[in-house]
Symmetry: C2
Subunit: 263 residues, 2 copies
Amino acid sequence: MGFNQILLVLSLLFLLHLHGSIASPDSLIRILPERDSSNRRKLPRDDYIRCDSWRFTVETNDAGPWSRIPFSCATFVKDYVSGYRYTSDSEAVADASIAFAKTVKLSGDGKDVWVFDIDETLLTNLPYYADHGFGSEIFDEESFNAWVDLAEAPALPASLRLYRELQQLGFTIVLLTGRDESQREATGKNLYYAGYSNWERLFLRGPSDKGKTATIYKSEKRKKLVDEGYRIQGSSGDQWSDLQGFAVAKRSFKLPNPMYYIA
Amino acid sequence: MGFNQILLVLSLLFLLHLHGSIASPDSLIRILPERDSSNRRKLPRDDYIRCDSWRFTVETNDAGPWSRIPFSCATFVKDYVSGYRYTSDSEAVADASIAFAKTVKLSGDGKDVWVFDIDETLLTNLPYYADHGFGSEIFDEESFNAWVDLAEAPALPASLRLYRELQQLGFTIVLLTGRDESQREATGKNLYYAGYSNWERLFLRGPSDKGKTATIYKSEKRKKLVDEGYRIQGSSGDQWSDLQGFAVAKRSFKLPNPMYYIA
C-alpha cells in the first residue's frame, strides 16, 4: 500500500470518527468509555447509564442491603473506582465536610469529635480489590485479613486532607472500624504508614461486639462517646451503617463505595 | 492545497486525535459531552466530572443545605434533567422501591402505608423549570404558584409505575406535600390529570404548619398517621426532608433532584 493510500485510509477513519461524534442519539450528554492501552472491551453506553443508575441507588441507600455488584456492572465499577470519578467524588465529599467543619463553633475543651470509619474512608483497599474483581467476587475474609496484616493500604487522599484540616481546626478525632480487635496493631501501623496520626481513640470490634450489625455496633460506640461528654459534630464513612442508627453525628458524610455493602 | 496535502492534514488530525485518546490522564472512563443539533456550547469533560461530583454530594445529602446550583453547573443540571440519565435514575429508584415493597407482608387491614411526596416525585415540574433555568434561577413563588394552578404537571413516569404497582400489592397511599392548603383543588386535579387516583389522604400545609421546616412538618404528619395505627412501610421523595426526621418509614427512597433543595 502506497503512502497516498495510507493517507486515504487514515483520512476516512478520521471523517468516520467525526461523523460518529455528531450523529449521536437522544441524550444530551453522551458518555463514552475510553479504550485503555490493553484494548479492553468497551462498556456500551446503555450499560454505562444503567450501571450509573444502579450506583445512584447504592449511594443514596435506596438499594437497601445488597450482596453483589450486578454481573453486567463489574466493568463499570472497576472503571469508576480505578478512574478519576472516584477521586473527584471523594474530593467533593471532603470539600463538603470541611465547609461544614468550618461552621462548627469549637468549645475548646477537646470534646468536639469527628468520627472516621477506616476501610474505604481513611484508607483505600483498592490494591487488594484490584486483585479480587473490585468487589465483584464474593468477599474472602481470609485473604482480606492477610491484606490487612500487611498494613500497606494507602490513604484515600481526600480523607487525609480532611483529617489534617480537622486537626488544624481543633477537632478531636475518633476512629471507629468494623475491623477486629486482633487487627489493632496492624491497623495502627497502617494508619501511620498512610500519614494519619494523633487520633484520640481507635474502636475495633471486641468480643462483646461479635454478631452485631455494623449499625448497632457503631451506634453503641458513638453512644459511649456521648455518655462520656463528647459532642459528635461530624462523621465520615463509605457505608450508611457508619452513619445511621443512634447517637448520630450532627452531620454525616457518605463517601462513595460501589464495591460492597455492610449492614 | 492539493488532494495529497488535504489527506496529510486529515491524517495528522486523526493521529493526533488517537494520541489524545490513548495518552489521556489517569481516568479509565472518558466522559464526553455531546454537541446537540443546536450547536450549544459543549460542557468540558472536567466540568462534567466536577458537576457530577457536586451532584453526588447533593443526592447523598453530604452537601447539606444549599441555595443555588453552582453557576458553572447550570448546563450540567439542564442536561441531566432533560436527558436520559434522570429518567434512568428515577426508574432505578422505582425498581428498588418495588423490590422492597414485594418483601412487605401486608396485614390486609389497610393500615400498611406508602407515603409519597408530590413535586419532583409523583409529578415533574420540568415544563416549569425549563422556563426558569432548571433551578439555576432564584425560586419565584409567584410564577411557580401560577404553574401549580394550571394543574398541568405531568407524572414522573417511574413514580406512576411504582404508584400503580403499590396499589396492586395492596398498599394504602398517602400523599404528603409542602404545597399550601389553598392549592388542594389544583393539586388533586393535576394528580388525576397525570393518572393518579385512589389515595387515602392528601396532606397539605395548613395554617398551623406555617414556618415549620419541611422535615418537621412532614414528620408531624407521619407521626399523626402512626398515632392513628398506620404502619409506614415505605416513603418516596426527592428531598431528604421528605424522608428524615421522626416517624420515618421502614424504608425511604430518595429520588433524584439536582435542581433545588428544601430544608
